[in-house]
């Protein structure tokens, strides 16, 4: 949407008559430069300082106070992500199906669901953490466990998956549905065989974004999944994810080198996840 015409010289000339506009233009450019320079600097700084510390001992399967290995945390992160998605993805997709395909327009209940989803989206992660501690850890007697963490996170990412699925379902043209009905398929068959498959890229983009949030989450996990740095025995044992591990290393201040290296791994994970989500979203707009 660039609306710049003419050569640079001409433009500068026209700015001569309007110095105010010229200053505003400079401010806009400056702001954009600050934003993107800050991001570049952050990434470059962490890569430059962290990559040299990526040693094999960091990836040892047993955590000791010597190596501060991130492997157990990485595995915990994978388990946590899988469990949270297992809960949140079906719930999110099903509720989006209800909202888009089944609920009638102007339904009061739909309004309530919209409002609660928006509310969930705005709740800070520490409040989720508190709730998880009160409900899953204490009330359900699960203790500090991966399961409690996964349930807490699944509530946190639920609105994200709901929203993206809703958008994806809405973007499926009605003619698909009409065609399917016209061929004699029932509502359920239409939803699962026709509508959902064409909405997959959009749903996927949302799910991948959810993965990004789960991987990066700390505050909601400290008092639900705990901070044990060992390999988990089962889902009822406590375990720290990579982000929690990173926080502990940095705040203890004893393992700054390992903290840099862990930051690299975390950052790379997040960049990969973001790129994947972008690719999925692009597929949706193409088809």
């Amino acid at each position: 949407m660039s609306r710049q015409g003419g050569s640079v010289k001409e433009k500068l000339k026209s700015y001569k008559r309007t110095p105010g506009s010229f200053i505003v233009m400079l401010l806009v450019l400056l702001a954009a430069i600050i934003t993107f320079a800050a991001l570049l600097f952050l990434i470059a700084y962490i890569l430059v300082n962290g990559v040299p510390y990526l040693k094999p001992s960091l990836f040892s399967f047993t955590y000791t106070s010597d190596n501060a290995s991130l492997m157990p945390a990485l595995i915990n992160t994978l388990i946590m992500t899988a469990l949270s998605l297992l809960i949140a993805v079906p719930l999110g997709i099903f509720s989006a199906i209800y909202l888009v395909e089944y609920a009638k327009r102007g339904n009061k209940f739909v309004e309530i669901i919209r409002l609660t989803t928006e509310t969930l989206q705005g709740i800070p992660s520490i409040v989720y953490g508190l709730f998880g501690m009160l409900f899953f850890v204490t009330f359900c007697h699960w203790g500090f466990s991966i399961l409690a963490g996964a349930f807490t996170l699944s509530i946190m990412v639920l609105p994200l998956i709901m929203r993206s699925t809703e958008e994806a379902l809405k973007s499926v043209p009605d003619s698909y549905r009409e065609g399917s009905f016209g061929l004699g398929a029932g509502k359920l068959r239409t939803v699962f065989r026709i509508v959902l498959p064409s909405a997959v890229p959009g749903i996927l983009a949302g799910v991948i974004l959810a993965v990004g949030r789960i991987v990066g989450e700390t505050a909601a996990l400290i008092y639900t999944a705990g901070t044990l740095a060992k390999m988990p025995k089962n889902v009822m044992s406590s375990g720290r994810t990579l982000a929690v591990h990173m926080y502990n290393l940095a705040s203890e201040g004893l393992y700054m080198d390992q903290a840099y290296a862990t930051a690299v791994i975390l950052l790379v994970l997040v960049v990969v996840i973001n790129t994947l989500s972008g690719i999925a979203a692009k597929k949706l707009t193409k088809s």
Binding site: R3, A32, L134, Y223, V270
Partner: protein, 291 residues
């Protein structure tokens, strides 16, 4: 045929039940937070809890006023730093950005949103804290760099993607004719944008601002890592501060009894703040839809 109708109905019920999950989640969150937090507030005294300037858990003195003020200070700082840069960057994205570099820059703003808060916190700890410490010393202030200013800069950076994304989409929602009309009347590119397009996109920009406030006030880990976390009234932008969120995370690990409940009550106060913010965003949205 009948069997088919049955599965249809069963699945419809399942979809409906799934849709109830988010309502149930919000209800549970409210119930558990309020049920665990309100009694402690009552025991301490609502007014004493909210306006007390002393936080001494060992002596059973629980006043969270310093933390409320702390949260407000760092949020205000984040807004002062993040909002102008964010809005101007959004203007850049919508009206200045050459098409060739638009896509990578858009991806960059999304990445900015995706970076975990621990990474931001770590970056703040190793980069911004020393910078602010040096800057403070040359200005004649003492302090170790863990300060309101540091937290504000870091949070300002963290709310950028929220502000940029929402502002840009509300700028793009303004009809093209507004801009063209202004230019046709002889206004410059800049004057058309700032005098015509941005006022027309006002409600979207305000929504961006409110969501930015919500993100800043609710941020936890990044703030803990750079703000110093002293539980006393803040004494200047180069001095340390503790926010509501930090109060919960720092002390929950060893708190018990009334102390623990007071921390949950801190969470309730934060939750109410956020609910008010959310509610005002919802109102703004409704209003702009009706226009």
């Amino acid at each position: 045929m009948k069997r088919k109708a049955l599965t249809e109905i069963v699945m419809q019920v399942i979809f409906f039940v799934a849709a109830c999950a988010s309502v149930l989640a919000v209800a549970l969150i409210c119930i558990f937070l309020f049920a665990n937090g309100i009694p402690a507030m009552k025991e301490i005294g609502f007014v004493k809890f909210l306006t007390g300037t002393l936080w001494r858990p060992k002596n059973e003195i629980f006043g969270i006023f310093p933390m409320i003020v702390g949260s407000l200070y760092v949020t205000a700082g984040a807004i002062i730093i993040g909002v102008p840069i964010g809005i101007l960057t959004a203007v850049f994205m919508a009206y200045y950005c050459p098409e060739r570099i638009y896509k990578p820059l858009k991806a960059a703003t999304e990445l900015l949103a995706g970076i975990p808060s621990v990474i931001y916190g770590f970056f703040g700890l190793v980069v911004i804290v020393p910078l602010v410490r040096e800057f403070g010393r040359t200005m004649g202030f003492h302090g170790n760099g863990n300060s309101i200013l540091t937290a504000s800069i870091l949070l300002g950076m963290m709310i950028l993607p929220t502000i940029i994304g929402l502002t840009e989409s509300s700028l793009r929602a303004v009809p093209e004719q507004y801009y063209e009309g202004a230019v046709a009347l002889g206004a410059t590119h800049e004057r058309s944008i700032f005098r015509v397009v941005i006022p027309a996109a006002k409600s979207g920009v305000i929504a961006a601002l409110v969501l930015g406030i919500g993100r800043a006030i609710g941020e936890t880990m990044a703030v803990i890592m750079v703000a110093g976390n002293q539980a006393r009234m803040p004494e200047g932008i180069f001095r340390g501060v503790r926010t509501l969120t930090a109060n919960i995370v720092i002390e929950m690990g060893y708190a018990a009894g009334l102390h623990r409940e007071a921390l949950i009550a801190t969470g309730v106060v934060l939750f109410v703040f956020i609910l008010i913010l959310n509610f005002s965003v919802a109102l703004l949205k409704r209003r702009s839809e009706h226009e």
